[in-house]
Symmetry: C2
Subunit: 325 residues, 2 copies
């Protein structure tokens, strides 16, 4: 079976055009594709246009790809019309498993088997979504982060019946779109983004429920604290810089040493069993993040970004919320 | 007992001058205080000077307070000399409870009872740290986020024996320093920053341990995804913008509705019991974060900040890590 060249796709169908689907429409248009958006909702077309009114000036400032134009968007309520000539289909219908299974069954009949279908699902495994397809091998999760036209990351992960060559195809395609592809080899509920996001959110809910902290206090912790760091580096790189010049191995040793360090951080999330193998695995894998940079180099990069970010937020009204004493 | 005016403090003693203590020294110097730093470590003075060599040019760019100068720093190995004339004492010795209890017992004798002592502890409750003090009422947790001279947030929380007036004093003092004060009324292990940070980190460790994701994949999720949003807004504000124009109440309804939405996000962290009271509490408390802004206004502010942030990172070498496919 001959698929389109993933780096030379011209026409994309977007099934579902709400917050996420519409955001993907904006991303694809800005990247220079012809897009046909489909959504059966009564106000769907109007709300898509409003989303584009908001997104487009931003995308122009970031820089459109050659030929990119809002004129290259068509809208229809008809799913068959939408996918007729598509070389890639992005599905973003509401997050309801039965609904998605039904849509995939329909797309399975309407879309040639050579065409890859990606799902914006934020948590359902493709194994469950693809279960009624005759051609499940071309279906893949392609989960963006809201707003999809601004946040670079997209998670690519297949189901049990997804052809590994389709994961390669989707990786190349989204790389050409300009996204930062996070390709997962393991299919887990929530993938990675929502596993991490929801772990933090559930801890937050526990504290709000118990009256230990308020919604505003929690949001402040991110906006004026943790989020500033995580905009520059992830948790492992953060802790790599947390022990002076001794690095992540030293940090993990103190983390794993036992009750004294760990007891103060009794969150609701359990720790995995602590072994020297796990310690070594973490330190070894972290080399990919550190990528040869020294700790002072990493600190300098982090600091430069945080300074700029603080200045940016001062200029915008991001501090308008009155949520800190 | 007459404490110094919290908005007119001149001389600060910093006990412990490692990564965090040294960062607090940098913050206090940049805010225009006289600082005496104490650390018994063999290389402590040199490493503090190196930290300041790195931090000072940054602090100059952010803007020093009138009169701020590195010349206003003195260093000593002697704790008694350090606290002799201090109008505030910030303790940042290593994160070891017995060590801290011992230091507080010593400070209790050396520092007049009118002087407030703050601890940089990242998780131990002040109730445990202050237990051998004769004057525990003037001790308070003042937990910064690394790097303390760049990240605005500082957590202020007392122990059982802390005088509430001392919480007021510390809040006013750190406000004058230029920090963004997060005052907690409840004393919990890890306070808020580390409860949230470690909840996410433990989930990450679970996935690395199980081979479900790599360190680099997890760090990418933050750096190129979640962190970009959390630099602009916290989790509740994020979800407020996640349901089109329907807002947080709608989001929480779908979150609480049951298995369909929640099941895909089975993290290791349990959910609190879901009640309509909890839903209402969240929506009501979130008003403080939303602060009268419409969803389109909030989206615009978020987008402006993310655009600027992406440009910033392009200019710096933050993308130097090769950690995404």
């Amino acid at each position: 079976m001959s698929r389109p060249d993933p780096r030379n796709v011209k026409r994309i169908a977007c099934i579902g055009a709400g917050t996420i689907g519409g955001g993907m429409v904006a991303q694809f248009l800005a990247s220079g594709y012809d897009v046909i958006a489909q959504d059966p909702g009564k106000d769907a077309h109007d709300s898509l246009e409003r989303l584009l009114d908001q997104a487009w000036p931003i995308l122009e400032r970031i820089g459109l790809q050659p030929g990119a134009s809002r004129d290259r968007l068509r809208f229809t309520k008809d799913i068959e019309e939408a996918v007729a000539d598509a070389e890639f289909v992005q599905e973003s219908v509401p997050e309801n498993l039965e609904l998605k299974v039904g849509i995939y069954e329909k797309l399975d009949h309407l879309v040639p088997a050579s065409i890859v279908i990606g799902s914006s699902t934020s948590g359902f495994p493709m194994t469950e979504i693809q279960k009624r397809c005759r051609y499940p091998e071309r279906t893949v999760v392609a989960h963006p982060v809201n707003p999809p036209y601004l946040i670079p990351l997209i998670e690519i992960v297949g189901g049990e019946k997804t052809d590994p060559a389709v994961l390669d195809w989707a990786t190349d395609f989204f790389d050409a779109v300009g996204k930062r592809v996070l390709r997962m080899e393991n299919e887990i509920y929530g993938f990675l983004i929502n596993r991490l996001q929801i772990a933090l959110f559930r801890e937050a809910l526990q504290m709000v429920a118990a009256g230990k902290a308020s919604v505003a206090q929690i949001d402040d912790c991110l906006t004026h604290g943790l989020g500033l760091r995580w905009a520059c580096m992830g948790p492992f790189a953060t802790f790599h810089l947390g022990s002076g010049d001794r690095g992540l191995g030293d940090f993990m040793d103190s983390f794993g040493r036992g009750a004294e360090w760990r007891a103060p951080y009794v969150t609701e999330t359990p720790l995995p069993e602590w072994t020297s193998e796990l310690r070594e695995k973490i330190v070894r894998q972290a080399e990919e993040v550190i990528n040869g940079r020294t700790i002072p180099q990493m600190i300098e990069e982090r600091n430069e970004t945080i300074i700029g970010l603080l200045k940016l937020r001062e200029a915008s009204r991001i501090n308008a919320s009155k949520n800190v004493a």
